[in-house]
Amino acid sequence: MLPLPYPFDREYMQLALVSGIAMGTAAPLVGAFLVQRRLSLMGDGIGHLAFAGVAGGLLLEVWPVATALLVAVAGALAIERLRGRGRVSGDLALALFFYAGIAAGVVLAGASDRFDATVLSYLFGSILTVSAADTWTVLALGVAVLATMALIGRALFAVVLDEESARVAGLPVDALNGALAVVVAVTIVAAMRVVGILLVAALMVLPVATAQVLGRSFRTTVGLAMAVGVGSSVVGLGAARQWGLPPGGTIVLVAAGAFGVVSLTAERLLRRAGRAPALGSVPGTSR
């Protein structure tokens, strides 16, 4: 245990801090690409599939994280395949898996006779009860996400700008889209113990929304989003301990609050810095 001050002076808080920082970094990094591709809800869709995986694991009495990872990755690739082939629109593809995932999760969890605190810990997060082994898993998945994004980020940005031009330029667009879908699935499974399946997409989207108000370049926006993600995790965990609040919800509320404060004060701050406000809009909406 490290000699950290309150509220991180206990071992369980330090384990939570490590998991929170890992996901506060990885989730907005992945989310930055989803938001620009107008796939902000992809995290939710895959999250519901991960719930089906968790419930399947409980039923089969195997490690739920492994089954969640398996189902989420397979589902993410299927969503991307449907969307990429243009058979259904992006939001319809998400909706199909969204509903099927949650329905399968409810049925499987019911059949496993574990529709109790165990299931709730995955749905709403249980970061304060993570073990050292859980933390290592979250950390390993987070590092894998960061390494993958470092490798494919530049090419993914070209796809975000214009998919057709990227294809003409010889970039492996389908493989890149598939890789992004897999990275989203891995991030969700890693983050489900931190904020819970129902809130995991918020950690991907809200910090990006905040960063977009302030950042001018994509690189700066991604950096700011990661900083907001980490800040929200740290502040949220501290507040949760101080006032006995559910940590997952508190982390997300801090991230939402950060967006509110930044979007309300951005104009004044940026004018003082000699710059016009970047845009100040919620991603996916026009100015």
Binding site: V168, A169, R216, F218
Partner: protein, 247 residues
Amino acid sequence: MTFAYGQEAVLDGVSVAVEPGEFVALVGPNGSGKSTLLRCLLGLLAPTAGAVRLFGVPPQSLGQRWRLGYVPQRPALARDLPATVEEVVAAGRLARTGWRRRFRAEDREEVEHAMSSVALLDLRRRRVSELSGGQQQRAFIAKALAGRPDLLVLDEPVAGIDAESQRRFRDSLTHLVEEHRSAVLLVSHELGAVAEDLDRVVVLRRGSVYFDGPPAELAATGVSLGVHRDDLPLWLEGLVAPGDVRH
């Protein structure tokens, strides 16, 4: 080459060639098959019969993808996209470097050169979504130029952009042809900005080549490309009925 969607032929026996260093315009009324021809050329569609060759090989087999630059028709840019002009232009350099290799000094120089050739160097740190339509289009032209292509294909690049941007657009294309000896294939209804620089005009009509020759020959029939800018679109729409010009 021929291309059909099911039983419906969109291109029928089209034969067009663009030589190195040539500046060619492809025009035609709506529904004449311009976009389909473009997509076949880019390798996004495969012809039903016949063949497309890019630098001597089928488009799908072209290994050196940087040799082909493409500027799409006004990319659907998100209004809140947080990306600078420099980041957008640098993305075009990936065609040359591949997606795995890190940028070197020469890549950064090429990106700078591409921005300079469309007069956007001063706006390099501006968000591309904050620029005017004409400036955005120039950013996307610079993106295509960053790979230093041997053939630049542009799909309706000047539709609805201001006169100043059209002038800059013309300068950047003539710079590419004259300095780098690249070929340019421009698909457009508005050739006024580049009328004096074109080597050839190809007119498509109902999926076939209706005219292929120097602009002077087309102008000799009374179709004005430059002075009376509206003449060409009006004439093209009139091609629905049999015309007098045939080459």
